[in-house]
Symmetry: D2
Subunit: 161 residues, 4 copies
């Protein structure tokens, strides 16, 4: 199981704590963590995962592996700037969004476009032409977010078989 | 001036009429129209632009130029699926969104991430962690959308000089 | 008909003269010129095409349209660095390579991988595991290169119908 | 250390044996193996690495992780077709090419363009405008290829510090 954690490269202390808890929980359950490989939410999530012996993958926008945060074990160097956002979500069976700005919004959109479940913690809400869009599954805590991510990923896997 | 028109590859009659009017108006003002090159809003916008002698560019997701709608004069073949969404908005000085689904939302997000103005006609609305985000400039008509696109594109150009 | 001209962003005077002649000839025959949009061979080819009223498209690696050479009429901004090389060749019905370094070699390879004919002027030669590979069609002059590009592009078009 | 192994998605028995031996040797030395994730040389290299407990990453061209060969532990889903070739080589500190067709040639070219060392086993040879290009480091055996890959990767790392 590969789960993506997305969010800003700078973030509040609260968001970092949530991301770290999400990372820890993912690792405890044996999931590989994929993210954009940079700071903020991405770094906190990787730190959490690494503290529990989890595998961490960073899909980097730039040209150098050294731009990855220190908790990324497998840095993937795309050199494609934010076109790499698509790769992060496509490689995951579910996506957990924590806070985030427009980059995170683009990742949420790409995930929904590809039918990949998105779980949100204090993140974007959407409405389309005046109608609320409830495609983002809201969670109230890191534990609930991870729980939902696993449940939705498994549900999707089953439906594809 | 290059202006992007984004929206669904299938769309309502009303959206198609808006897109066609936007395309005509862009061509009258001498702008090059860039879009995703497929059907729906993209095709209607290209048809409008072509009817006024405008230049139309389609950034295609697939592997063949022949997948472009018949009003695309310059088909660009990326073979990159929806990673091509980034290219559409980055190549434009302003983006006009008409309706649209998650692909359109990803383009709106990529544009905002890159500081490119977005004008919306019956499209997505955003809020972030409970706070409304007003980055999409609302328009009530195709004429107003094009007017705003030119004004915002020029303003940005001036600020960059 | 869209024809790509590929080659180094810096080049010899002889290569620039060849590229300019190729650009002129393509424009005279009504082809749209696509290239990487930067200097050297790309700029010379665009200058030649523009001098005959041809349409020029530049697929740029960076984040800004202003990095295009002054003869590019339609700058496409990918922000994808050299991953954009694939787009240049996929968008063309034939590719003319003039001199060039490893970037040009990657474009030749991507073209051949996609079954797009490549015509070479003073450019790379290939052998695979000790056997010469003659997939690059050699030309002795700009006029011959353009002649071959049109002939091979038409042949391929016919075979696909 | 991340080392890429590149080559055809179908290959001869001899090439598969070389690729498997390269994969085993990389894993024994603790390197992570990155490749295009499909069959042929890629699968043989992953099988070799996995047999020695190594980590294997596959950068897939398509839209589904399930297209990866069974020895890929971390499938990265790009959906970008052969634009993904750039990512494979950019993520590596050295590249070992075994046989291969035009896709492999594009990877060799992208690696050389990015200053990443390439080691060749029965693969492409290059000459540019009549002059041999010796940028591909030839190896006579899988062991020599891996030896050279490590030596060149370390040399480059040192020169960048």
């Amino acid at each position: 199981m590969i789960i993506a954690v997305i969010g800003g490269s700078s973030c509040s202390t609260e968001e970092a704590q949530m991301a770290e808890a999400v990372g820890r929980e993912l690792a405890k359950r044996g999931a590989t963590l994929i993210c954009g490989g940079l700071g903020g939410v991405m770094e906190a999530a990787c730190r959490g995962a690494a503290s529990e012996g989890g595998v961490t993958v960073g899909i980097l926008p730039g040209d150098r592996g050294k731009t990855a945060n220190p908790y990324v074990q497998i840095p993937i160097v795309t050199g494609m700037s934010y076109a790499r956002n698509v790769i992060i979500v496509k490689s995951a069976q579910a996506v957990i969004a924590i806070g985030g700005s427009y980059g995170t919004l683009s990742e949420i959109a790409h995930a929904l476009q590809n039918g990949i479940p998105v779980i949100g913690l204090n993140t974007w809400a959407l409405s389309r032409n005046g109608q609320e869009d409830n495609s983002i599954n809201l969670a109230q805590s890191p534990a609930e977010a991870v729980e939902k991510a696993f449940a939705l990923a498994k549900k999707m896997e089953t439906s594809q078989t």
